[in-house]
């Protein structure tokens, strides 16, 4: 069970380390004359100085030739020719080939760098947009306040409309009652006036009528006399 737990601890991890990849070294190991590593010269320098390895090379060459460990035959000449041509070619065209290879490498690195830069800018832009969205989300409260205000205003308007309606209806009913009472009073009044007139008219006896007419005639005569006196005077 312990082994299973160990594997369980590795469940969502990866074997790749998160450390950044170290850059390639600029130059390779140094070599003298292209084929002998520089370390040989450094090892021999304290004991034999600068010419030590060359003397070692010369001694080795003499030993190899004299003991015929290296046998001089027709291939030696071929090797010498080839060596000359190769060395001449490398000396003459080496730097150009190196520059060309460096240019190829440079282009590759530049392409990768472009991709990386593009990715970086787009991701940075994405971060900016995300922050903007977060800032916008913070304004939610203001939005809700505005909406709440709207709703409250609607409710208030509705309430006031209903209050008006109630007031109008109540007023109409009260006006109706007033009109009704006015009507009652007027009818009573007219009826009473009519009744009084009728009674008065029927109560005037013919004798009273005659007396009043005689009074009117005498009054008129007096008035005519006065008038006549005025016009002749």
């Amino acid at each position: 069970l312990g082994a299973g737990l160990v594997q369980l601890a590795h469940l969502h991890t990866s074997p790749n380390s998160q450390a950044p990849v170290p850059a390639l070294p600029e130059k390779g190991g140094k070599t003298r004359h292209g084929i002998i590593p520089e370390e040989l010269f450094q090892i021999l320098y304290p004991k034999t100085g600068v010419t030590g390895p060359y003397v070692l090379g010369a001694g080795l060459l003499t030993y190899i030739l004299s003991k015929e460990i290296y046998i001089i035959n027709h291939e030696t000449f071929a090797a010498a020719c080839m060596g000359t041509v190769i060395i001449y070619g490398v000396r003459k065209f080496g730097p150009d080939v190196a520059a060309f290879a460096d240019k190829l490498n440079e282009e590759k690195v530049q392409k990768a760098q472009e991709v990386k830069d593009l990715a970086m800018t787009s991701l940075a832009q994405a971060i900016q947009d995300e922050k903007k969205e977060q800032w916008r989300a913070e304004g939610r409260q203001m939005l809700f306040d505005a909406k709440r205000n709207n709703v409250a205003m609607l409710l208030e308007t509705n309430r006031r409309e209903r209050v008006h309606m109630v007031t109008n209806d109540v007023k109409k009913r009260l006006d109706y009652q007033i009109a009704l009472q006015t009507l009652h009073r007027r009818m009573e009044q007219e009826h009473m006036v009519n009744w009084v007139e009728k009674n008065v008219v029927t109560s005037i006896t013919p004798q009273q009528e005659k007396a009043s007419i005689a009074k009117c005639i005498t009054d008129l005569k007096v008035l005519a006399k006065v008038q006549q006196a005025k016009t002749t005077a």
Binding site: P25, E26, G28, G29, Y70, N105
Partner: protein, 104 residues
């Protein structure tokens, strides 16, 4: 100063001359070990001379020189028929030199 470390874990340059035999006995000669040592050597050479930004000719040239030397060693038995003198003595020529140089 490296005496208190076990022999099998020391590097070649830190092993004393007298301990060389026993150190060689402690090395890992299983197939996995041999492969690991080959891979190690390859990685060291590759990362030092080839896997760099501005490599020189040395990385490839040393391999070619090594190939030439190795092929010469493998052909030595055949080439030794073309020797010019016997037994370090320039006055005793070989059959080859007698036949072919006399023909000149």
């Amino acid at each position: 100063s490296l005496d208190r470390f076990p022999l099998g874990e020391k590097r070649l340059m830190d092993v004393k001359l007298g301990e060389l035999g026993s150190w060689l006995g402690k090395r890992d000669f299983t197939p996995n070990g041999v492969l690991a040592s080959i891979r190690n050597g390859h990685d060291r050479y590759y990362n030092k001379y080839i896997n760099v930004k501005k490599g020189g000719i040395g990385g490839v040239a040393m391999l070619l020189v090594g190939y030439v030397a190795l092929s010469y060693m493998w052909e030595y038995d055949h080439l030794s028929e073309y020797r010019l003198w016997e037994y370090d003595d320039l006055r005793v020529p070989t059959t080859y030199s007698i036949i072919h140089l006399k023909a000149l």
